[in-house]
Symmetry: C2
């Protein structure tokens, strides 16, 4: 394990160079987030013109800090960053987060090279420059100027875009997506995706890694590391700059080379990396992976009370390589006892729009508890004879009573306001739920395809 | 105009055969919806065993109704439906909505043929059987057992699926999508998509038509009618049964032949019909079309405060055939005056994450007011220095002050809870807004492509 990268995630002490007294200023917000998110180690604000900020003693410069400093967050004008790195070296810092912009992204490549040269001299690993910071929930570390309180969880999010990254950080809060880490990777002058993947791949608190990527510098190394990590946990990538015009926009944004799209897609597939085409897909899938056990084997069974929604889900699954076979005979015999005579007992099992809330949940649980079934997609359309919240509550209760999920279950609830609350209820209980049938089906396809990938690469290793 | 189809949308009087006293029963819910939604004409409940339901005098049979009956809603067991149609004929009904199921969809084709034969004899047009009813907001007609209060607006929604249709009817309420009509089309024994398209194409209250379709009986007629309608207003289709397995699911659902997917897609394209791949897309686009003026010509300009979100939007637009050219020089000169020096003045115009709320709105309005610009996509990432609700309010105010939208403007706001409220604010003011950049960009691509289609077919006609 690289000591510098480890210090980035698990520092014992943090200094903020450029700490500010003024709310709204980046140097204030970072300090405030560090304190408010409850970082348990020492925090040293550095500012030659202040004595105390937010109740903490301020030091005029890094070299005057009395203790050791593991991590230095640098929010000062670009031109003086290299000198700050020198000071950081003198106090034994192992890592620096360079918030400052004004480097390669505006054509100032020499300054960026100088920054890296100084850092290497002192053995300091650098995140950035041009980043909004890092959050690592297990260390209670929020050294960013994004939102203060993200929900702790198991999704690690690496973003090459600043404003989009901060915005999505806010989105995880509303969408109740628990995160282990959020890392703004910026210009990648030193630390790049592969370094972070290595750490997060080993991190027991991270179950799924999501990357917003415009380009990688060292594609070969990224793929090598990714190939190992994807054997253990899913890695989802949103690759921006998929079209020529998009690639030009990338160039004027972070100065990265977006590269040839097909090369990226092929490489991702070979390394077991899951490519999401939209932000919505990426977060939908991250949520599913973070809640669910891995798909092992067995049939996927669809249970629906709305034929049309069953068709749309089938279309989506099949278009993503998941074929449906008839449900197990033992399951058909079981549900036949209580379903309406005109129910369709294929796959999807159409329990009909006349089913009660209890009947719907019963069919879903019977499918889930069948030994030949490996995964269940429950597709619910709001009807006059059912209550979405009752279905959600009963489903949560039944899953709890059965000792929790031992195979993937994904739910879609389509309808009015009640379904929105029911979806929240399910997500809170870690049963992934979505308001659209195709989104749920795409998430299920991704979960199954990843489960198969892992089985395949493991069999190869053992075979 | 077909008299029967007209009576379906604009009846002066409605009878409900099979009206029930018991809440929860279909025959009660339909009657209740008719009353609650404020149907101004005469309503006649028919039930041999009741005297009064919901304050209305009940008649034992249709033939005893004292006045004329334009529309008959039939909710009785399938086997007696043909006799009810005979009675309807005697009182001069022009249309019937056959709610009852138990016809072709369960293999009972003879009964369905008998139903049609009797209806033809009396000159009655039939919607269904196997439907949840019809809503037509301009007539204050809700002859369905779906939700009572849909939001009046300009989207007409035709659905071949019952449970999914009712669920989506509920969704329009939460998503604040105003509807002119919701029609459950069921088995299409008589009235089919083409009949409804003909009516809705002429209907000044309907600006966009959305169809959930599993299959059409008379493909040629549908395409002929669609080709005429799409010259006047957009027609969006969700075609279910796109895969072989999906087609099998269709067969066991409504008994329709889903047919060859490619044939459908090609035919849709030739007729100017917009094919949506998911329910989410379909409703996203319907919302945009219902709010916006048609795209005529001129440049599409993207304004973003987040480079990454700009790249993702560019990718989506280009992948849907919309190319981006540099912004007009006059616009660049104008925004240069107040944007940060490191702002990127290409297309997208990246106003940078350091822009204020006012600055962002100003840039969007400058783009919108530029003569060479034909459409604007505003891409906002929530940052610490901006306030999503302030941006939404200022944007609504500025658009109002400029006399309303004269070209398409679509907004995406990415972030935490505040952005969700800001999106609601914009949608309420009829500026289409979405929480994901790709969804906004896909909606914009669809609006532009449709605008170009209309210009092309009109030029062909004039040329």
């Amino acid at each position: 394990m690289d000591e510098g990268v480890k210090a980035l995630f698990e520092p014992r002490s943090v200094a903020v160079v450029g700490a500010s007294r003024h709310p709204g200023k980046i140097g204030y917000e970072i300090l405030n987030n560090l304190i408010e998110y409850g970082f348990p180690g020492k925090i040293y604000p550095i500012n030659p013109k202040a004595e105390e900020i937010l109740g903490l003693k301020v030091y005029p410069r890094l070299s005057e800090v009395p203790g050791t400093v593991d991590l230095v967050v640098v929010s000062v004008p670009a031109r003086i960053v290299p000198d700050v790195i020198d000071e950081a070296g003198k106090v034994g810092a192992k890592a620096a987060v360079v918030i400052a912009s004004g480097f390669k992204e505006v054509g100032n490549e020499e300054l960026e090279e100088e920054l890296v040269k100084r850092a290497r001299k002192h053995g300091i690993r650098v995140l950035g420059p041009n980043v909004f910071g890092i959050v690592y929930a297990p260390s209670r570390l929020n050294a960013s100027f994004g939102p203060t309180h993200v929900i702790p969880g198991s999704v690690a999010f690496i973003t090459q875009s600043g404003a989009l990254g901060i915005a999505l950080m806010g989105m995880t809060i509303v969408e109740r997506i628990g995160v282990s880490a959020i890392i703004s990777i910026g210009n990648k002058a030193d630390i790049d995706d592969a370094d972070l993947l290595e750490y997060l791949g080993e991190d027991p608190r991270t179950r799924v890694i999501l990357i917003y990527m415009e380009g990688v510098r060292d594609g070969r190394r990224f793929m090598e590391v990714a190939k190992e990590v994807t054997k253990k946990k899913p890695v989802i990538v949103i690759k921006a700059g998929k079209t020529e015009a998009g690639a030009r926009a990338v160039a004027s944004h972070t100065g990265s080379l977006a590269g040839n799209v097909k090369i990226y897609s092929t490489a991702f597939r070979q390394a077991g990396v899951i490519e999401a085409m939209t932000v919505e897909e990426a977060f939908d899938w991250a949520r599913a992976f973070s809640y669910l056990p891995r798909y092992e084997d067995g049939k996927l069974v669809l249970v629906t009370n709305g034929g049309g929604a069953g068709v749309l889900s089938t279309d989506m699954l099949v278009s993503r390589g998941v074929r449906l076979s008839p449900p197990p005979k033992s399951l058909v015999e079981k549900v036949r006892e209580y379903l309406p005579s005109f129910a369709s007992l294929g796959n999807p099992i159409d329990v009909t729009g006349q089913i009660s809330s209890e009947g719907f949940v019963r069919a879903v649980m019977d499918a889930l508890n069948n030994d030949e079934v490996g995964a269940v997609l429950a597709i619910y359309c709001q009807t006059a004879v059912t209550d979405p919240m009752l279905i959600a509550s009963k489903l949560v209760e039944s899953v709890d009573l059965s000792g929790g999920l031992r195979k993937p279950l994904i739910v879609t609830m389509i309808g009015g306001e009640e379904t929105y609350w029911a979806i929240q209820r399910l997500n809170k209980a870690r049963i992934p739920a979505y308001p659209m049938p195709e989104r749920a089906a795409a998430a299920m396809a991704t979960v199954i395809n990843y489960g198969r990938y892992v089985s395949r690469v493991r069999n190869l290793r053992n075979g």
